[in-house]
Each structure stands twice: as structure tokens, then as C-alpha cells.
């Protein structure tokens, strides 16, 4: 079966938190540096927050992969909503012991265990999607961080209705807050080009003009997840034309028609 080069290109834009697909941007590099510096400070909790698709998980993932060999660091990429499971996971990560299925971790016992380790060890936990944790569990996280043995880096979705940072336990304990924002036009251009160049698609990267970037930015508002989704559909359409109607596409310039078709498909513009 005939295969199009666009099949491979579209896969670049599949939304993942794979460190290999991480694109170093000016803004993300700055935020990452702040985060790394914060880890060396005697902070109990570090908050990473921003709208969905601004790259919070990506930064957390990158941090984990960069520090996993030099520090005692653990990454919970999916939220553990059960308190029992959460405490079990914390204890297993710290003690490197497997707890049998029919047993549970006593929170007081865990606190005592942490207090015994004070001054000897510093364990770091990276918790993604913390807005899903319950108040009670957040309170336990706070108590664990008070032992100064466990340090938490948490990510939160910035929501308009609920100002999570205003909550008491965050107000008093979070000493470092890093806000991630959507990319501007220049950052988005670098992001798309770097993504394509990393995989060696120089020609396709050159096809995208500043005007196209502006159109993409107008549709996605510079959100990385939305941009990935948009470009995935764009190259999906390209793949179709390349396979069945190659006379309809130009390999030197990104088609405005296809960009608009993708925007219609996602619902950025209405037909």
C-alpha cells in the first residue's frame, strides 16, 4: 500500500508527554529554570499552574527525567484519588517495599516514619492534576510536607470559577508559584518549526509561513495541546490529498484551504 510522508508528520503532533518530543522554548526554559532552582530551596510545596495544554505535565515529566538519577524523586503522572492507594504509593516509593494487597498504610505511622528520616533524606514527589484530589487528601499532603522530609511539586489547572490557590492549605504552605501561559505567535512559530525539524522535516517546516502561524494562533490561542490537535488534522487532510488527489496540494506552501478545513473540523470556524 502506498504511504504518504504526511502520515509520519501528523504523528509528530499526537499529544504526548514524552520527553523526546519536548520543545525548548524561551518561556518554558525560563519556567523550568525557576522550578529547578526552587527545588534547592527549603520549600515545602511548589505549585505549577496554568490552563490545560500550557505544558505543565510536560515540564513535570521533563523535571523527573532530568533529576531521577541525581535525586530521590517520584512522579505520579495520573492522580491517585483513593487515599488508601495514595498513602500506599507514597510509602512504597520511600521505603522501596511492596505492601501486600490486603494491607494498608496508617497515616500516623507514615508521619512518624517521615519524622525519623528528617535531616537524613529529602524525597521529592511530583503530583500531576492535583485539582482532582480531595480536600482531606490535600490536608494529608500538607502534613507530610510539614515533616520537611517530603517535598511536593504539584500541578493545578487554572480555573476561573475556583481559585484553588486561595484555599487555606495552599495559601500558607506554597512558597513558590509558577504560572504557565499560552504561547505567543513567535513562541508558537518556534514550537511548530522545532517539532518538524526535530524529525527532519525541513521542507514541511519551510512550507509554513508567518501568515499561517498567525491563522493557527488565532484558532488555538497559542495553546500547545490545541495546536497539536490542529496540526494533526491539517496533516491528516494532507495525507488524504497526497494519496488520492495529489494535484490538489502544493509542496512549497501550506494550503489555506486545508488550514480552514481543519479549523472547520475542530470547530474554530463555522460553516
Amino acid at each position: 500500500m502506498k504511504k504518504s510522508k504526511y502520515s509520519e508528520i501528523k504523528n509528530i503532533f499526537i499529544d504526548t508527554v514524552d520527553t523526546n518530543s519536548f520543545v525548548e522554548l524561551e518561556s518554558t526554559a525560563f519556567n523550568y529554570q525557576i522550578l529547578e532552582e526552587s527545588l534547592d530551596k527549603p520549600l515545602k510545596m511548589i505549585l505549577l499552574f496554568g490552563k490545560p495544554g500550557t505544558g505543565k505535565s510536560m515540564i513535570l515529566n521533563r523535571l523527573y527525567h532530568n533529576l531521577k538519577d541525581s535525586r530521590e524523586i517520584h512522579y505520579f503522572d495520573a492522580p491517585i484519588l483513593s487515599e488508601k492507594e495514595f498513602l500506599k504509593n507514597i510509602y512504597e516509593s520511600m521505603s522501596s517495599q511492596k505492601i501486600p494487597q490486603n494491607m494498608r498504610v496508617n497515616f500516623d505511622g507514615l508521619l512518624k516514619y517521615c519524622q525519623k528520616l528528617r535531616g537524613k533524606r529529602e524525597v521529592m514527589f511530583l503530583l500531576d492534576e492535583c485539582q482532582l484530589y480531595s480536600e482531606a487528601l490535600m490536608e494529608k499532603i500538607r502534613l507530610l510536607s510539614d515533616t520537611r522530609v517530603v517535598k511536593f511539586v504539584i500541578t493545578l489547572h487554572k480555573t476561573e470559577n475556583e481559585d484553588v490557590i486561595a484555599k487555606e492549605h495552599f495559601k500558607t504552605r506554597i512558597w513558590e508559584v509558577i504560572e504557565l501561559k499560552n504561547a505567543d505567535i513567535d513562541d508558537l512559530e518556534v514550537y511548530i518549526q522545532k517539532k518538524l525539524l526535530q524529525r527532519g522535516f525541513v521542507e514541511v517546516s519551510n512550507m509554513i509561513t508567518k501568515k499561517d502561524i498567525k491563522f493557527i494562533h488565532a484558532c488555538t490561542k497559542g495553546n500547545f495541546r490545541e495546536t497539536n490537535k490542529f496540526l494533526y488534522i491539517v496533516f491528516n487532510i494532507y495525507e488524504y490529498y497526497d494519496l488520492y488527489k495529489p494535484e490538489k496540494i502544493n509542496s512549497t506552501k501550506l494550503s489555506k484551504k486545508i488550514l480552514e478545513m481543519a479549523a472547520i473540523k475542530i470547530g474554530y470556524i463555522h460553516d
Partner: protein, 265 residues
């Protein structure tokens, strides 16, 4: 894979909508521009229409001079129009100067000046002689009375008769003079003389003649209106003055309008 055919159809629909939107915006814009132009054009027409009655009044006066009948149907119509809408009559008019008439006026003025100088020279010399002769050869009235006894009174009466004669002579001389040079000034003087003598019909006629020769002369308009007023046509006189005032903005005319209005009130 995405249903690209379906998506393409949706894209065509989207584009058609876009084109229609642009076309409708352009149509609205052109409609607005055309509408604006049309309104302005209409306004211009209205202004012209407003000016037309004034022209009718002015042209009516010309007809009147020829036929010696002021209340022609055209004038009547224009006056009736004025009756219904005084504001139209009082609306500002654009003064237009006829350059050919202006030239003609200049030539006439120069001619008049020359005539006047000649007349001055010819008139003054005999006067001087007369005075000199009087001093040496003739007696004064009192001297003569002394010589002839009580004949002084009779002589005075005779003098009165002479005065009357000279007045009628003045009219015939002025008319003769007007026939020769068609000077509006002469016509105006005749009109004034008739007015002073109480012959308002004649005064009106001569004021119109003067006015026909020189439309810019305030005196001819004023005298014409005054004569009409005396003939009991105050309303008509007022309307004519208002039309002229709109054009000339003369303070004298305004004063007369106010005076007439206050009288009629």
C-alpha cells in the same frame, strides 16, 4: 482517516458564506454612499427650489415695467407662495453679480461724471457773469420796490408763479434728460419728485423704471415699497422688501421693514 470529501463540502459552504458576506457588506456600503450622495443632491435641489420664487418676483418686476401693471399673474403666484411660507422668503440667497451689467454701470458712471463736469463748467460761468452783472447793472428787489413804490409785493407774487413754472420745468427737463441717457439716477429723482408731490402711482412706476436699470440701488427699492405702501399695498410692499433684504442685507431696508411691520401691527 477524516472524511475529507465531506469536510471539503463544508469548506465550500463556508467560503460561499464568506463571499456572500463580503458582497453584502460591499452592497450596503455602496448603498450608503449612494444614499448619502442622493440626499446631498436632493438638498441641493431643495435649495434651488427655494431660490426660484425669488427669481420669479424679480422677473415679475421686469414684466411690470413693460406693461405698467405690477400685479401680474406670475408675481401674484410668487406672493401667494411667500404668504404660505415666510421662512422660505427669509432664507439666505446667494448674491450673483452680472459682470456685463457691472461694466455697463461703470461706463455709465464715467459718462455721468464727464457730463456732470461739462455741465458744471457751462453752468457756473453764466452764474458768475450774472452775479457780476447783477451787481453792476440790475437793482435788488428792495431797491426796485423803492424805485417803483408799492410794486414790490406784486413782483414777489410773480416770483412765486415763476417757482411753480420752474418745478414743472424740472420734471420735463428730467424726463427729457432721462430719455437721452437712460440714467437710473434721473428716474429715481423723478420718482422722488412724484412721491413728494403725492403722486404715488407715478412714483411707483418711476421707481420701478429706476430699479429695472439698477437692481442694486437701495433707494429704488425703498421708494417703490414706500409708494406701494402709500397706495395701500403694505403687505405687497413688505414682501418685496423682504426678498430684497435677503439679497442685499441692507440696514436701510431692514429699518423700513421694521417700520412698516410696526405700523401694520
Amino acid at each position: 482517516m477524516i472524511n475529507t470529501k465531506e469536510l471539503e463540502k463544508r469548506w465550500y459552504k463556508y467560503k460561499t458564506k464568506g463571499v456572500l458576506l463580503v458582497v453584502s457588506i460591499l452592497a450596503i456600503l455602496s448603498l450608503l454612499i449612494y444614499g448619502g450622495y442622493y440626499i446631498l443632491y436632493k438638498l441641493d435641489l431643495n435649495i434651488e427650489k427655494k431660490e426660484q420664487p425669488k427669481k420669479a418676483v424679480l422677473s415679475a418686476t421686469r414684466v411690470v415695467v413693460k406693461e405698467k401693471n405690477i400685479s401680474t399673474p406670475i408675481e401674484k403666484k410668487s406672493i401667494e407662495k411667500g404668504d404660505s411660507d415666510n421662512s422660505v422668503m427669509l432664507s439666505p440667497t446667494i448674491p450673483v453679480i452680472d459682470l456685463e451689467k457691472e461694466k455697463l454701470k461703470d461706463i455709465r458712471a464715467r459718462k455721468r461724471a464727464i457730463d456732470y463736469n461739462i455741465a458744471k463748467k457751462t453752468h457756473h460761468k453764466p452764474k458768475k457773469r450774472l452775479v457780476k452783472a447783477k451787481a453792476s447793472t440790475y437793482l435788488t428787489a428792495s431797491e426796485l420796490a423803492e424805485v417803483n413804490g408799492n410794486r414790490y409785493k406784486a413782483k414777489r407774487e410773480k416770483k412765486k408763479i415763476n417757482m411753480k413754472l420752474s418745478s414743472s420745468n424740472y420734471m420735463s427737463v428730467m424726463k427729457q434728460k432721462f430719455k437721452q441717457n437712460k440714467n437710473p439716477r434721473e428716474a429715481l429723482l423723478i420718482a422722488q419728485a412724484y412721491y413728494d408731490a403725492g403722486n404715488y402711482k407715478k412714483a411707483e412706476e418711476w421707481a420701478l423704471i429706476a430699479n429695472n436699470l439698477d437692481k442694486t440701488s437701495d433707494e429704488s427699492w425703498l421708494l417703490f415699497a414706500k409708494a406701494k405702501d402709500k397706495l395701500g399695498k403694505r403687505r405687497e410692499a413688505l414682501k418685496i422688501l423682504v426678498v430684497y433684504y435677503n439679497k442685499s442685507k441692507s440696514s436701510k431696508v431692514k429699518a423700513l421693514i421694521d417700520k412698516m411691520k410696526s405700523k401694520s401691527i
